[in-house]
């Protein structure tokens, strides 16, 4: 598997047949974007999972840092009023 040092890493996002949005499926190695798409097809859509594929170079993703976790996410803990569970949604409203 010497390719791991030659081929860059890509993040794969798959939109399922029923799904509304692309979801992160995993990552893989490929020489370029075109190969990343075909590799993603072969690795992540073998069991009819997919209707659409996005690939993104992993090094193009900017992530929040774990050290900022408390500052970033804990303040939302006691603000349950932000959840929509207190409202009655009409039946016509799908995909909430």
């Amino acid at each position: 598997m010497s390719s791991k040092k030659d081929w860059p890493l890509w993040e794969v996002f798959i939109r399922s047949r029923q799904g509304m949005s692309h979801k992160h499926a995993g990552s893989l190695h490929a020489a370029d974007a075109e190969m990343a798409i075909t590799n993603a097809r072969d690795v992540y859509t073998r069991r009819q999972e997919g209707a659409s594929i996005w690939v993104v170079p992993s090094d193009q993703i900017t992530a929040s840092t774990p050290e900022d976790k408390e500052m970033m996410f804990d303040p939302a803990n006691d603000k349950i009023y932000r959840h929509p569970t207190f409202y009655n949604l009409p039946d016509e409203l799908e995909h909430m």
């Binding site: 020489a31 590799n39 097809r41 073998r46």
Partner: protein, 253 residues
């Protein structure tokens, strides 16, 4: 068309996919990268799936109660009618890619012709299902031909050598034997000799993008597989593929 002749015709297509699929399956766990390992075995499984449909249909046509397993596991070398190309060893990755590339471009044209021209509803249906798979196989192998040909000096030299080595096994794909002619006259079969020009053109287009020299189309070509006269390799493939069902007949999963 007589039953036996139709059976013989279907078996040729079945064996092409079966033997090539079995060969590709040898890459399982040995691919050059995990992603490519999975791609090769996906293609292998597609081909074996095509072979299963064709073998099942051949068994029905024959009417002797033989199912796909009996046809795959209990026939001997001379009964297999795949083109020699399908049984060639995997060699290095470039050899496998070239073998697959030649076969993919052929099967795509053949299934296309079968869908449009065959009067046999079952063959048409199998071709229609298979061509979607083969379209992807063809893209996969063509992409690799260009990557390796238009790659490094070393990959270019290797893939050119693979092309030159395997080229003599491509002519057989387009030969018409007596059984092929009977099938054509009956409206069931296709004229594979008519696919050759399109195949040469498609192959050349990819070779140009890959900076690979096109071998001489009029070169001497190997043949015999469609008549059951095989290379020494097929016996070893069958030994591996058949030894479990032969040691334990009627074994179930």
């Amino acid at each position: 068309m007589e039953r036996q002749e139709l059976f013989n015709y279907i078996i040729k297509w079945a064996d092409h996919s079966l033997i090539l699929g079995q060969r590709l399956g040898e890459w399982c766990g040995h691919g050059p990268a995990l992603e490519e390992d999975i791609a090769l075995t996906n293609i292998s499984l597609d081909l074996i799936g095509q072979a299963r449909s064709l073998l099942t249909y051949a068994g029905e046509v024959e009417g002797k109660g033989r199912d796909e397993d009996q046809l795959a596991f209990f026939r001997d070398v001379r009964d297999f009618k795949n083109p020699l190309l399908a049984e060639l060893p995997n060699g290095h990755f470039g050899d496998t890619v070239v073998r697959q590339f030649f076969s993919d471009h052929f099967l795509f044209l053949a299934y296309e012709a079968m869908m449009e021209q065959s009067s046999d509803e079952q063959l048409k249906a199998i071709a229609a299902k298979s061509i979607k798979e083969v379209a992807y196989h063809r893209k996969h192998s063509s992409d690799w031909i260009v990557r390796l040909g238009d790659g490094t000096e070393e990959s270019q030299a290797k893939i050119q050598q693979s092309v030159d080595d395997i080229w003599e096994f491509t002519g057989e794909l387009f030969t018409m034997d007596d059984n092929d002619r009977l099938a054509l006259e009956a409206g069931v079969g296709i004229d594979v000799s008519l696919l050759r020009d399109a195949w040469l053109k498609n192959v050349q287009t990819v070779f140009e993008a890959a900076t690979i020299n096109m071998p001489d189309a009029e070169a001497w070509m190997q043949q015999g597989g469609k008549q059951g006269l095989h290379t020494e390799y097929l016996g070893y493939i069958l030994a591996e593929m058949q030894h479990i069902p032969r040691a334990y007949p009627n074994a179930q999963w």
